[in-house]
């Protein structure tokens, strides 16, 4: 203990550690009625860190070459000590990251935390959502299995529906007319270098905005005495919570609770249902000359996949999806009312529930179609 205190004093003398701890941890106050949903951001940070760690470990043995990729993944799964655990953590983690991100967005949406002055928080969060989808899509190809090869063929083919530039875009994405070794090279570079750096930078921007605006007060539970939210802000205003609970230790313990609950669910899938996310085609090497009977995208793309199928033209399907995504991205600029409690906003609540049911319905339809 004496050694720890001496070390702490030594650091404090040089960087003012006590001041930082007081300002950012023990003195960083959060609303008293803050709930568990607010900890999803911390869960996502842990997931991202774990993805980076497992991804780095996989890179030691993975070979991004069309001739060797499948064999290298098979080697990792079967011969490398704990390789199966690292690979499954990475594969399951990518799905869990999308699932938790959707929940995080849903809680933000439901509690109206995207509203003024947090429009930029929402926009950076939405960018993160699309980036996570992008990193999942690019990672899907890397095992170079029948599933990854044909799913990527279908996914990249959708871009061809865009007028004028569509065919060029497909060729640019694939590095050729068809999915092949150049596609693997491109997707590998995007997956391990480009997108992670952009995600890290966007997370940084998201956290910066969170710190600058302050934590939003949940619209549920006892409300703090604060100026009416509708009052026009003439200058920059940080939403502080005097009399609130400190981040450390109170809410840090909630974060740890949520992280542990997440790990229990995540590890349950890893140890007991790893095949939940794989079809038999995921364990057959890619064969460009043999199209499997039923290739489906990942569960989070099933709604998009089904939307493309139900519209008479792919362009129409893509346009509808683009319109829906743009609407969602710009929601804070559309929904400008000050009221944040969903129970007092029946139209918003109906639209949200309707949208979720539509997405779930399309996903199930896409799975069984």
């Amino acid at each position: 203990m004496g050694l720890f205190k001496r070390l702490y004093d030594w650091i404090d003398l040089r960087i003012g550690a006590r001041e930082i701890v007081k300002k950012e941890l023990t003195g960083y106050l959060l609303p008293r009625n803050i709930n568990e949903w607010y900890s999803l951001g911390s869960v996502l940070l842990v997931i991202f860190a774990l993805q980076v760690l497992t991804g780095m470990l996989l890179m030691v043995y993975y070979v991004p070459d069309a001739e060797k990729a499948f064999k290298s993944v098979t080697f990792i799964m079967n011969d490398l000590p704990y390789g199966w655990l690292i690979r499954l953590c990475h594969a399951v983690g990518s799905n869990m990251m999308v699932a938790v991100l959707l929940l995080h967005m849903l809680s933000t949406l439901t509690m109206g935390s995207f509203k003024k002055p947090r429009e930029l928080n929402w926009v950076t969060g939405f960018i993160l959502f699309t980036l996570v989808q992008g990193i999942s899509l690019t990672g899907y190809l890397l095992p170079w299995s029948q599933l990854s090869f044909w799913a990527t063929t279908v996914a990249t083919n959708s871009a061809a529906a865009i007028p004028v530039v569509g065919p060029y875009l497909v060729e640019f994405l694939r590095g050729g007319k068809l999915v092949g070794p150049p596609t693997l090279g491109r997707f590998f570079a995007m997956h391990v270098a480009v997108i992670p750096v952009i995600i890290a930078a966007t997370i940084g921007a998201h956290l910066f905005l969170l710190k600058r605006t302050g934590i939003s007060t949940p619209p549920f539970g006892p409300q703090e005495a604060s100026p009416p939210a509708s009052a026009p802000a003439a200058s920059y205003h940080y939403e502080s919570h005097p009399g609130g609970i400190p981040f450390f230790p109170n809410y840090a313990l909630q974060d740890l609770t949520s992280i542990c609950v997440y790990f229990a669910v995540f590890l349950a899938v890893v140890f007991y249902a790893p095949n939940l996310l794989f079809t038999p085609d995921a364990f057959v090497p890619a064969n460009p000359f043999q199209t499997p009977a039923h290739i489906k995208p990942e569960w989070y793309f099933l709604a998009n996949y089904q939307t493309l199928k139900i519209f008479p033209s792919e362009l129409l399907g893509l346009s509808v999806q683009a319109a829906a995504m743009t609407f969602l991205a710009l929601l804070p600029f559309v929904d400008r009312s000050a009221q944040r409690n969903p129970l007092k906003r029946p139209l918003f609540l109906a639209c949200t529930i309707g949208g979720i049911l539509l997405w779930i319905g399309l996903t199930i339809w896409g799975h069984f179609s």
């Binding site: 568990e36 799964m77 549920f220 539970g221 006892p222 740890l256 949520s258 609950v261 140890f271 038999p280």
Partner: protein
């Protein structure tokens, strides 16, 4: 008002449980590898719509092991499967239907090992003298996979008594069951990402060896060979048990890790309560 709001406050744990359930229910259990897609050739397009004798082969073929493995009409009968006008053109390799004495050679183009076994057997030695051909037991068009179910009283007693055939079938029954069981386990592991290449190749060789017995009518030899094959299968069985034990061990470790995570979650929750 505040109490009610707090009661209605959404719970993350409930949501995570719901997420896990929804994720589990959204996906079906691992499916077996799909069979090869049945090819649509001009032969099938034309004959498939014809009545009676001309259309029947297509209906029968669809139920066959050949259809299951993507082997279409042209693989046996020749011809151009992509051009309706040349589909039955002899200059394009069309062979038509073989005469009875030519049937073993017709099938033997793809199954040379089986042809050799058949010709060496009592059945093969009676070819052209009223003895059975491939079609007699395996049927034509609705071609059945080689299995012990083909050796049955109804089929064999068309030509002779069932006594010897029964003795042979009984000797092979256990081995076939062993092969089917090991095959299912290997396929199951294959769909879970286990490298089953060596095991699959080993079973393929053993099964081929076993299938050579199908045309042998020497009971003593069949019994001796089946015993040898069972020894080989036992080695594969042992290897599979090692994988199964490893999988079971992973689940046990997983249970402890998951319990540890839940225990920590409970502990942190209680610690948080003390600060609240």
């Amino acid at each position: 008002m505040t109490d009610l709001s707090q009661i209605r406050r959404p719970s993350l744990r409930v949501a995570l449980s719901a997420l896990a359930l929804a994720t589990l229910s959204a996906f079906a259990a691992p499916q077996p590898a799909p069979a090869a897609e049945q090819p649509e050739t001009v032969c099938i397009q034309c004959h498939g719509s014809l009545p009676d004798r001309l259309g029947a082969p297509v209906k029968l073929w669809r139920t066959s092991i050949h259809a299951e493995n993507g082997i279409s009409c042209n693989a046996c009968h020749g011809g151009d499967p992509k051009d309706a006008s040349d589909a039955m053109n002899r200059s394009r390799g069309f062979l038509g239907a073989p005469k009875e004495a030519d049937i073993p050679a017709f099938c033997g183009r793809c199954h040379p090992g089986v042809l050799k076994d058949y010709l060496a057997s009592a059945h093969g030695k009676r070819l052209g003298q009223g003895g059975p051909t491939c079609f007699t037991c395996h049927s034509n068009h609705a071609i059945m996979k080689a299995s012990l179910t083909l050796i049955n009283e109804k089929s064999c007693t068309r030509c002779h008594s069932f006594e010897r055939a029964r003795a042979i079938r009984d000797a092979m029954q256990q081995t076939e069951g062993y092969i089917v069981d090991i095959d299912a386990r290997i396929k199951g592991f294959q769909t879970q990402g286990v490298d089953t290449d060596r095991l699959g190749k080993g079973l393929f060789a053993i099964r081929n060896r076993f299938h050579t017995l199908f045309h042998d009518v020497n009971v003593t030899r069949v019994k001796a060979e089946s015993t040898q094959i069972n020894v080989e299968l036992a080695k594969l069985d042992k290897d599979l048990k090692v994988i199964e034990e490893e999988r079971a061990r992973r689940k046990t470790v997983g249970a402890f890790v998951i319990a540890g995570a839940l225990l920590l979650a409970g502990l942190f929750h209680l610690m948080k309560k003390t600060f609240d």
